[in-house]
Amino acid sequence: MRNIWIICRKELSSYFASPVAYVLLTMFGVIFGWFFWNNLTFFVVEGMEMQMRGQNFPMNVNEQIIRPLLSNVGVIGLFFIPMITMRLFAEEKRSGTIELLATSPIRDLEIIVGKWLAALILYACLLLFTALNFAFLFKYGHPDWKPLLIGYLGLLLEAGGLLAIGTFISTLTKNQIIAGAVTFGVCLMLLVLEWVSGYDTSTWAKVLAYMSIVTHMDSFARGVLDTKDAIFYLTVIFLGLFFTARSMESLRWRS
């Protein structure tokens, strides 16, 4: 446990000692801010129009702002995950510092979990930016905070799975660009696998749709904690880290 924390601290300090963390935070902040602004303005304009027409349509901040935005965060995050994970192992392999880690009295799994945890914490920092935006909703409206919390839990679980996959891909190469590009491709595929459910209802289509990460985000975005979906994400995390461990082992046998 202590070793995991040592590795995690080191990764975090290298994220924040270099411009990496700040660039990611800034870009994410700007992009999410734009999403939030548009969504909010649309909500306000629609609300005023309804009032002018005299209709009394029920308006709900949770349903009409928070839920679509949380789904969007998952998609925006997709672009940032490769940038977070691509350096984790690829850089250590290129600079030779992997030799230091691998010859220290510490288990491979501790290195892997430490690095993954640091990536997850950085992602959580990105989510803090969204919380900053949502805070305005609480200032001027009365949204329900429980579904929002569950939404965040879902986002963290989803990111955890994708980050684990990214960590695994980073162990496969010395080249950060390759690690980043492959991770992005895999994450995007996992996102769009869900499309098949739009036109096909056969078993294989159901399986493909089930494997898609967005399928399982829906319930969390609605504020529903579904064990089935939580287990799906936990499985992805476990598998990603398991493959990372196997890959590190084979690294030793090969190189």
Binding site: S14, A17, T97, L100, T103, S104, P105, W253, S255
Partner: protein, 337 residues
Amino acid sequence: MITVRNLTKRYARTVAVDEISFEVAKGQIVGFLGPNGAGKTTTMRMLTCFLPPSSGTASVAGFDVLEKPLEVKKRIGYLPETPPIYPEMETSEYLEFVGKLKGLSGSDLQKRVDYVCGRCAIADVRNKLLGKLSKGYRQRVGLAQAIIHNPDVLILDEPTAGLDPKQINETRDLIKSLAGDHTIILSTHILPEVEQTCEQVIIINKGKLVATDSVRNLRARARGAESVLVEIAGRNGNLEAPIVQHKLEQVSGVSRVLVKQQIDGRGVFEVESQKGRLVRGDLARAVVESGWDLNEMRSAAMSLEEIFLQLTQSDAAVEAKRAAVEAERAAVKEPQG
């Protein structure tokens, strides 16, 4: 302290290390010598548990590298060929990180960081980014991280590569001063380094062990006899080399005399004598009694460099000869078939 038995590392197409066996006693400095690509780094990586051996065993301080890697790693300090530093970290931050990785904490950690900073002369760059340090400093920081947890065994892969002559001397002195408390294996292809720092040498070539012995024994072994270089000058400005040669050969104990050099009235002769016979006094007397001047007399001990070339090249020469013979045979066969 270190025991290696038939250690082998095979890759898909090549054998990097082939059945190497050696032992290193506690407190010794051992030079690991070989041309580039001989398998030095691979052997060191197996000792540090970075690579698992294909077959054979290695143990450090009684712990097997395959069965108890964590115990071995606790007792080893390792400096790879390129110092494993993170350019975005400061020196002290980096040393603290490595110290924690190796299991130090609290005031112990601070004490060790201060100690290695002083020992490796890097106290003046404690708060500098590692990426901005010169090669010499990086190498010393690398050495500092290797000794931070006061390990029993130090494994240094070409610790002086890329340093300037002054830094090389400083690093050698540092390594020498570390011996005693630590058992040290250092690899190099610079021979004087081994002669100056190491007590024992392990020579490998193409993955095979060529020789393992103390520096002194190795010198003696390379040539069975002792040889002396003698410079002699004739009184009247001319010197008949064959006569001198003949005269020197008659000194008792001398087995062979070679004319190395002859320039107007002076000649340099290499006198080989049987092992254990001290012939210098007799040689000097013979020269003076014959009416020549004895300008210089020094022992022609083989440098380690010559020994190394002799040991590693004889293999190559044998192989080249075998290849030539095979080619000849093939050439003979062809017209018949």
